[in-house]
């Protein structure tokens, strides 16, 4: 992971994005500009339909950038090739609204399968790392359970383990608590935050779950395709003094 604090891991400027063609063309993102620093936990909030997911899919290299400049983890996404986008995605840990686990695998296998993307990790090492990761998310006892035998919160914890086990340079999460009740949602978010802090992984998380806003270093808000406001999150040095936040949240990183 890059440790150069001055170097943002995501920078974007002048991003416009539309769905549809001709008459049906509908612009979703308007002149979006953003920068996210290494190790930062950034929450992206805003009303439903405002374009948060669309922005996330652009950053993840899941959609083609139409206009503007967007650099993620050293990949310039303007006219990036499919192969380049695939390389980028392998550096990202994904957490979805639904757990999106493979139902025919056990918890451990779901995590382990990620090492098929990292051929240099031996089978043994992959197994050990997957096991440790599951213990860290509190599922050490249920590693060999099939997904169908886990509760919603447990499934999402497996998904977190799967997203983090490959040591991604960035974690992208889209409403990871939306399908969970308040308590398990809270647990999942706390877990994600503490693991990310431990591993010093930056997180960009879309959520409109107001109960979890406190984990953020920084909160940015989207309104009708515009990034409208950014505020310092309540998760600051006094909440997690020991976890070693590498870089102080900086409002100036998001240019409105």
């Amino acid at each position: 992971m890059k440790t150069d604090d001055s170097k943002a891991i995501i920078t974007g400027a002048g991003i416009n994005f539309s769905f549809g063609q001709g008459e049906l063309r509908k612009q979703i993102l308007f002149d979006v500009e953003l920068a996210i620093q290494p190790g930062e936990i950034v929450l992206l909030t805003g009303p439903s339909g405002s374009g948060k997911t669309t922005l996330l899919t652009l950053i993840a290299g899941l959609r083609k950038l139409q206009e503007g400049r967007l650099d993620v983890l050293g990949h310039s996404l303007h006219n990036a090739s499919q192969a380049d986008l695939l390389q980028l995605r392998r550096k990202i840990g994904f957490i979805f609204q639904a757990h999106n686990l493979l139902p025919y695998l056990t918890a451990l296998q779901n995590v382990q399968v990620m090492f098929d993307l990292q051929p240099d990790v031996t089978i043994k090492e992959g197994r050990e790392r997957a096991t440790r990761m599951l213990q860290q998310v509190g599922l050490g006892e249920r590693m060999n359970y099939h997904v169908s035998r886990l509760s919603g919160g447990q499934k999402q914890r497996v998904a977190i383990a799967r997203a983090l086990v490959g040591r991604p340079e960035l974690v992208l999460a889209d409403e990871p608590t939306a399908a969970l009740d308040g308590t398990s949602g809270r647990e999942v978010v706390n877990l994600l935050q503490s693991l990310a802090r431990e591993q010093k992984r930056p997180i960009l998380m879309v959520t409109h779950d107001v109960r979890v806003l406190d984990i953020a270093d920084r909160i940015i808000e989207m309104q009708d395709g515009h990034l409208t406001a950014s505020s310092r999150g309540s998760s600051s040095a006094e909440n997690h003094p020991a976890k070693g936040v590498q870089n102080e949240p900086d409002i100036a990183n998001v240019t409105l």
């Binding site: 695939l86 390389q87 392998r90 994904f94 999106n100 493979l102 139902p103 296998q109 089978i123």
Partner: protein, 384 residues
């Protein structure tokens, strides 16, 4: 990319009913292909058992001879011309005609193929025939085809049990001198071998010396092809001089064109192939469709298209293997059963097995490749 976790297999195994249906589909297809190809081969092979048993290299038949059931006689005097040749070791003549066999148990009349052969020397290379040649010289005795269809009655069993049975051929009381293996075929349900003299007794309308088939045994080291050319010149246009292979081929050409057997069994094999193809395609296609969100998720996480293709194609190869093995076992059992009932030479020939392994893998891979196209519609942008 190496697969550390047997994803293809785990995914197949996850839905047992679907796996069972797919394997059953492949199995049915494999059994069908074995049966069709085996029957085709056996039916054609059974039609030329007699031809293959010629104790000689060249065969002489009338120029209008087409096949065993459509023969035309020629004078055996023609063959005498060959006896003097230093290239010739022996010449045999054979009469043939369909006779009427009376089933001793139910009295039913059945057509049976009768051959009049020489009894001094074996003109046919059939196992065990020599020990019976002397007996064949007696009046009104015959050799019976052990592999004849059961409709003629359990003649062999009765003789073995020493039961007295009244055997009647062309309304003549006959007695059994022994058995040989010839086998039934398309137009022939069974065979009977008799001496020339007995043949002429059975078929009084036939003239002595008007034979159907001449067999020429060459001296060792004589070129078959040049002898064939030379004899054809000597004998003239009334007869055709054939190698044993050509004699067989003539028979096969007739049955291939006269019967739709080649077409039916080839079509049957193709149908078998397509049954497997369609079942596997259907199952893999619905499987890919049902799992699209999972595949989209995997694409989003950085798994390449190649990885996912490998996953689906891996499943098709696994289905091929799982269907091929039990399918072949079933086919082997059916071969054995049919061999017993129909006396057809049905065997699990290794070459056919190799061919079918490839056909099965091809079938499953084809369907896998078609089903895999559906993977394109797994859009990783849809996963959030």
């Amino acid at each position: 990319m190496s697969q550390r976790i047997p994803l293809a297999w785990l995914q197949l195994k996850h839905e047992k009913m679907k796996l069972f249906a797919a394997v059953a589909g492949v199995m049915v297809s494999v059994v069908l292909m074995w049966m069709q190809l085996g029957l085709m081969k056996a039916l054609f092979a059974s039609a030329v058992v007699f031809h293959g048993s010629m104790n000689g290299e060249l065969v002489i038949v009338h120029s209008q001879y087409e096949h065993l059931l459509h023969s035309k006689v020629f004078s055996s005097r023609l063959l005498y011309r060959l006896r003097g040749s230093p290239d010739v070791s022996d010449v045999f003549s054979i009469y043939l005609a369909p006779g009427e066999w009376k089933n001793p148990w139910n009295g039913e009349m059945r057509s049976i193929q009768c051959y009049g052969i020489e009894t001094d020397n074996a003109s046919l290379k059939l196992p065990g025939i020599e020990q019976h040649l002397l007996q064949l010289r007696n009046t009104d005795v015959f050799l019976y085809d052990r592999m004849a269809r059961p409709r003629f009655g359990d003649v062999v069993g009765a003789v073995e049990r020493r039961e007295p049975v009244e055997l009647e051929l062309n309304r003549r009381r006959m007695s059994l001198a022994g058995v040989v293996d010839l086998g039934a075929s398309f137009g022939v349900d069974g065979n009977v071998l008799v001496s020339h003299a007995n043949f002429l007794r059975l078929f009084p309308e036939r003239k002595s010396g008007e034979i159907d088939v001449g067999v020429v045994k060459l001296m060792p080291g004589i070129s078959v092809v040049s002898a064939q050319k030379q004899f054809q010149k000597v004998l003239g246009k009334e007869v055709q001089v054939l190698t044993v292979e050509q004699f067989k081929e003539l028979e096969l050409i007739y049955w291939r064109s006269a019967t739709p057997i080649g077409i039916i069994f080839t079509a049957g094999t193709v149908v078998g192939f397509f049954i497997g193809f369609i079942v596997v395609y259907q199952i893999l296609y619905t499987d890919v469709t049902n799992h699209l969100p999972q595949y989209a998720t995997m694409k989003a996480m950085g798994f390449s298209d190649g990885y996912l293709y490998q996953l689906v194609l891996g499943q098709s190869v696994q289905l091929a293997t799982m269907g091929f093995i039990p399918g072949s076992l079933i086919a082997a059992a059916m071969y054995a059963g049919l061999r017993k009932v129909t006396q057809l030479p049905l065997y699990m020939e290794p070459m056919r097995g190799v061919f079918l392994i490839f056909a099965t893998i091809l079938m499953c891979t084809f369907s896998g490749m078609l089903a895999v196209r559906k993977l394109r519609s797994a859009d990783p942008a849809d996963v959030f």
